[in-house]
């Protein structure tokens, strides 16, 4: 009876937080599902989105969520260029080359962040970022709810895009059978570039909501990459629904773990879960 006391709040918070993790992981899942590359710079690219929102807020006084109107296209373009000029070429060299180049990219990004924004911890502290909501005995920050709503919106939009547009179908086709996709007249290089670009646009969203939810530093990319990897592996690479479920599982692991083991151990619980997931389910629940 007693250990379950006060569990309601961590559970609700975990589920809502899961929305954030789902958005952060979604781009990674998409890229792995389609292009079959694990972009280990993904975490840093999400943080790029966070810093973009931060700049919009502190330099231009624009609300970070609103700044996504510019942030998303910018990151879309960057992502397109990265895949087209770096990673497509890396693929022709070897799978290791892709990994190493992504790693190089990660190092470059982290140190650019360090140089421009210093190691100081930052946050997107808008007025609503500090508000809390109450639901009965449960109290949680408003942003957690926003995270969850954002996740739903992003996932629905992505799903519709993949289903109804030619590009979306081309992306799904290239993910399922690359050779057959070629024979359909699909330019897979271009499709991959668009896929990466879309994942970056989603990362931009993830970055802003991450910044609203947690403080971040130039090296925050790594912890979120690891969680995203866990989410993606658990939920199945390339599965939208799976990523959502995976996100919730990790959100819960963190909040409930924090409830039992203390705040300091939160990340450790999440990391351990990642290893467990990797060891037990290399293919994920929903995925191939």
């Amino acid at each position: 009876m007693t250990i379950f006391d006060g569990l309601a709040t961590p559970i609700v918070m975990g589920i809502l937080l899961g929305g954030l993790y789902a958005v952060v992981a979604l781009g990674l899942s998409l890229v792995f599902g389609v292009v079959r590359e694990i972009n280990i710079a993904h975490g840093d690219l999400v943080i790029l989105g966070s810093y973009f929102g931060y700049t919009a807020m502190t330099v231009f006084g624009i609300d970070p969520i609103l700044s996504l109107l510019i942030g998303m296209p910018v990151l879309f373009g960057i992502g397109f260029a990265i895949q087209k000029y770096l990673l497509n070429r890396a693929f022709r060299i070897s799978m290791d080359a892709v990994l190493i180049i992504a790693f190089g990219l990660s190092i470059i990004l982290e140190n650019i962040f360090l140089k421009v924004w210093s190691p100081m911890s930052r946050g997107l502290t808008t007025p609503y970022a500090l508000k809390s909501l109450s639901l009965g005995s449960v109290r949680f920050p408003l942003v957690y709810l926003l995270d969850f709503l954002a996740a739903i919106v992003v996932m629905v939009l992505l799903r519709e895009f993949l289903r109804r547009t030619y590009l979306g179908m081309a992306i799904r086709a290239a993910a399922q059978d690359r050779k057959a996709a070629h024979l359909m007249g699909i330019n897979t290089d271009r499709v991959y570039a668009f896929t990466f670009a879309i994942s970056m646009a989603i990362a931009a969203i993830g970055g802003v909501f991450l910044g609203l939810t947690f403080p971040f530093t130039p090296v925050s990319g790594m912890p979120f990459l690891i969680i995203a990897l866990g989410v993606v592996v658990l939920g199945g690479l390339g599965s939208i629904a799976g990523t959502f479920v995976g996100g919730i599982v990790f959100g819960l692991a963190q909040t409930v773990g924090g409830h039992f083991f203390g705040l300091a151990a939160q990340m450790l619980v999440a990391y351990t879960m990642v290893l467990v997931v990797l060891a037990l389910i290399p293919r994920g629940i929903f995925g191939r």
Binding site: M169, A170, R172, D177, A180, L183, M184, G185, N187
Partner: protein, 239 residues
Amino acid sequence: MLEEILLKVSRIDAFHGTFQALWDVTLTINPGEIVAIVGANGAGKSTLLDTISGLVHPSRGSIEFEEKDISALEPYKIVDLGISQTPEGRRVFPDMTVLENLIVGSYNRRARSLRERNLQRVYQLFPLLKERKAQLAKTLSGGQQQMLAIGRSLMSNPKLMVLDEMSLGLAPLIVDELYKVLREIRQKGITILFVEQNVRRSLLEASKAYIMESGRVVLSGNASALREEERIKKAYFGA
């Protein structure tokens, strides 16, 4: 009398890594023909088709389609020009519905505007696909998947349709159906090139044939003429 040539493959060599799969292969296809490439496993037939489709680039020689050199083109450009391959093993997109598979088939620029017309054409040739249009492709049987694969190729509005081992693993009755459809497709003005291991059947259906062995063309000509020679080849290929 100048004979129009649709596809001209001239003396190509092609490699799979360091392994040479094609040696000095030459092949000509005229519009409106049904051409067969026959040979045992490993004869290089699939590599030849992949080279025509641009998935493999020849290291020597050239490939011309409608008098345009396509040997260095990317596969998607070759589909744009009007060559569509139905690959070995069908390779339908498993997690997409029948209708979605067909729609993806019309991905290339030329075919998009003609999508509805081609869709009706495919439904008319394969009523079964219309019935099952909302069904996931991976739940179809082998024969149904082959129909879908052929329908998908048709959606790209091809001038030349290339089929790789269409009858592999299918019951004779279904194979008969498929050849019947091929004949109808040919009547609509689409040229057909197909690859088979079954020599006898191929020579019955084709107007012209090429026999391949170990990456080379060893015999070619009019199908009915080759059928006579077949008695000699029977020992070679068995049934």
